[in-house]
Symmetry: C2
Subunit: 369 residues, 2 copies
C-alpha cells in the first residue's frame, strides 16, 4: 500500500497531472525493453533485471514478459516487495549481514527462489545457520573497489565454505564493475570490462582446478552489458537503468555494439515563479529529482537550462531568444540519476501519447532495510 | 499512515535497531529546542519553525510547546499533514501556482490559519478567486536569487493587488536570504543579512509611504537568525535545521551571537562488508542519507571517514591505527543535509541514552504536491 495518493488519474492529459510527478513514457519504456532483448539475443546470456532502479513489481513483470529470468535487488525489503508482487526468482546482489535481516531473507526463501552474495566466511556460516535454502554467489571485486573478495584464491576458499553447508548452493560469481558504467568513452568502458573479464577468468580457472562448478557469472550494467555479453564469460546480466535512460547515462558515448536507449523517465514540474526575463523557478528540487549525478535537464525546450536545485525549487535559466515558459506551465525534466529519483516518489504516472494510461505504485520506495 | 513498518520497537537498544534507520537523539533535540528559544528571547521576534526540515507533526507540536507560534511549509501537501497532525497556524512560505493546488490550499484554510507567499499579480488574483481567507505575504528577493519580486515598488504594487481582494489579507513580507545560511564565516553571514535588511527597510519605507501596514517581516534560517532577530527589522523567524544540526551546518563557523546546536539527527548503518584492512562498507548510501551537501560523517569514531556513497552503499576509509569496525557493527552517521535525508525515511527512531523511547512517523515524507 502506498501512503500517498497518486498525483494523477487515468485518462487525464499530462498537463492536468499534479506536480512534481514521476512520469513514465510507456512507448519509450517498451522500446527500451525490446532494444535490450534484441541486443543480447545472439549471446548465451540471460537477463536478471535490476529492480533497485524501478522498485516496481509492475515493471518487473514487464521485464519478465520481455525475457528476463528474474530480478536483482539490493535490500531484503526490496526483495520482499518483488516477491509480494509476483516475482518468483530474486537475487539480492548484495551482502546481507545481521540476524534480523538474515531471518527475513530465510522467510522469503520459503516463497521464492532467493539468491544472495557473500564476501565473508562468517557471513556464509550465518546464512547457513538460518536453515534456508539459498543460492549463494561469491562477490569478487573486478575493479569497483567496493564489496567483494579479491579475485582468485579468496573466492575459491569462500566457495568451499558455501559447499560445506547442505542448505546453501554455490551458485556462481557476482562480478559487477559498477565504476565502468559511467565512464564516458565506449573504448574505455570496453577496456574496463576486458580487465574485469581477466579477473573472472582467473577465478574460474582456480574454481575448475578445485573441482568446483561455477554455474553463473552475473554482473554488468546498462553502460557496458554488451561487452560482458560478447565476452563469453558472463552468462547473466543485471542491467537496470536501460528502461529509463537518465541524464547521466545520456552523457555517455553510445555506439555499437551498445544500443541507444530512449529517455523514458521524467519529472513533471510546474513553473511557480518567473522572477525575471531570464529566470523561471519550478516546483521540483532535490526532493523530487536526485542531484547526486548532476542536474536534470529540461526536455525538448531548447534554451532552458535547469541550473540549480534547492530542496523544493529548481532554478531554470532562460537563454536570450529562447521561448520562455509562462507561470503555471508544466515542463518535463529528465532526472540526472534515475534510481534515487524514483525512490523519492510514490507513483509512476504512466503516459502514452500525452494521456495517463496507468498508475503504478513505487512499491519498494523507501525499502531500505 | 506510513506505508512501511518502523525499523525499531520501543524499548530496544540502539544496537538492536534495523538499518539504515533515521535516529533522533532526544536529549540533543530538546537542548536545541531550548537553545533557540533562549537565544531569541530578548528580542521582539516570534518563531515560526520550518516543517520542511522535519515533516513531522510530532516535532512541530514540540516546537509549539517550546514557544513557536506556528510552522512554515513549502508544499500544500506538507501543510495538510501538519494541520492533520494538529497544527493550527501554517505559512506556506512559497508560491502556490495551479488551480488544483490553490483549491487544496483553500480547503485547508477552512481548518487552520493559512498563509502563502506571492510574487505575481495573476497568482494573487487566482488565490483571490478561490474565495479562501488567506494571509498573503509578498516575497521579496533579498539576495537569494530564486523567487520573489525585487525589493521596493514591485512589492508595494503587489501588496496593493492583495488589498483589492476582500478574502485576502496583506500579512507582510517574506524576506529569506537562503544563500547566506551556509556561508562559512560568521562575519560574512552577518554582512549578507545586513544587506538583506537594507532591502527590507527600503520596501517597508515605500509601503509606509503608500499607507500600507506591514504587520510581519518573516524569514531567517538556522545559520543567521540572530542577525535577523537583532536587526529589529524581522519579527518572525523561520529556522528549521537548528533542531537537527546536520554535517553541512556543522562546517559553518559558530560564534556569538549564534548559539551552538548539537547534532541530534543520525543515520544508523550496519557494516556489511570489510573488503580490506583499510575499508568498510555500510548499508547506507545515497538512498539513506542525501549527499547533495556532502558526505555524512561517522559519529565519534576517529579515523573512520565516509568517503563515497553509491545508491545503497557507503564506503568508509579506515585510517592506519584507527579502531576498525567489525562486520555487522552499527555506526551512527551525521547526514550532510538533514531535510532531504529525513525525506528518505518513514520513521524517526527516537532514542534516549541508547534506548528507543518513541517512534514518530515522517508524516509528510514524499509530500511533494
Amino acid at each position: 500500500m502506498q501512503a500517498r495518493a497518486a498525483p494523477a488519474s487515468i485518462g487525464q492529459r499530462l498537463d492536468e497531472v499534479d506536480t512534481p510527478a514521476l512520469v513514465l513514457e510507456l512507448d519509450a519504456f517498451e522500446k527500451n525493453l525490446a532494444a535490450l532483448a534484441a541486443a543480447v539475443k545472439p549471446y548465451a546470456v540471460r537477463l536478471r533485471a535490476h529492480a533497485k532502479t524501478h522498485k516496481s513489481p509492475d515493471i518487473a513483470r514487464r521485464q519478465l514478459a520481455a525475457g528476463a529470468i528474474g530480478v536483482c535487488c539490493q535490500k531484503v525489503s526490496e526483495a520482499e516487495a518483488m516477491v509480494e508482487g509476483g516475482v518468483r526468482d530474486v537475487l539480492v546482489s548484495n551482502q546481507i549481514v545481521g540476524a534480523g535481516k538474515i531471518e527475513r531473507l530465510a522467510a522469503l526463501a520459503q516463497r521464492a527462489r532467493v539468491g544472495v552474495c557473500v564476501d565473508d566466511a562468517d557471513n556464509v556460516r550465518a546464512l547457513a545457520a538460518s536453515g534456508a535454502k539459498l543460492d549463494v554467489y561469491v562477490e569478487i571485486d573486478v575493479g569497483m573497489g567496493r564489496c567483494g573478495v579479491q579475485p582468485g584464491e579468496a573466492a575459491v576458499s569462500l566457495a568451499r565454505e558455501i559447499e560445506k553447508h547442505e542448505n546453501l548452493r554455490f551458485a556462481g560469481l557476482q562480478a559487477y564493475q559498477g565504476r565502468a558504467q559511467h565512464v564516458r568513452s565506449v573504448a574505455e568502458r570496453r577496456a574496463l570490462i576486458e580487465e574485469a573479464g581477466r579477473k573472472v577468468t582467473q577465478t574460474e580457472e582456480l574454481l575448475n582446478k578445485a573441482g568446483i562448478e561455477c554455474p553463473v557469472v552475473t554482473g554488468a550494467g546498462s553502460g557496458t552489458f554488451m561487452f560482458e555479453a560478447q565476452s563469453g564469460l558472463w552468462n547473466e546480466l543485471q542491467c537496470g537503468s536501460y528502461i529509463f535512460m537518465d541524464a547521466d547515462y545520456g552523457r555517455n558515448e553510445w555506439a555499437a555494439p551498445l544500443p541507444r536507449f530512449e529517455h523514458a523517465l521524467f519529472v513533471l514540474a510546474t513553473v511557480m515563479s518567473r522572477p525575471s526575463a531570464s529566470q523561471a523557478v519550478v516546483d521540483a528540487g532535490l526532493k523530487a529529482s536526485s542531484v547526486d549525478s548532476g542536474m536534470p535537464f529540461v526536455w525538448q525546450r531548447p534554451g532552458l537550462v535547469y541550473a540549480a536545485a534547492s530542496d523544493e525549487h529548481g532554478r531554470i535559466e532562460i537563454a536570450a531568444g529562447a521561448e520562455a515558459p509562462r507561470l503555471g506551465e508544466k515542463l518535463l525534466l529528465v532526472p540526472g540519476h534515475c534510481d534515487p529519483t524514483v525512490n523519492l516518489h510514490d507513483w509512476y504516472v504512466c503516459v502514452r501519447k500525452g494521456v495517463v494510461e496507468a498508475l503504478w505504485p513505487v512499491a519498494a520506495r523507501g525499502a531500505l532495510y
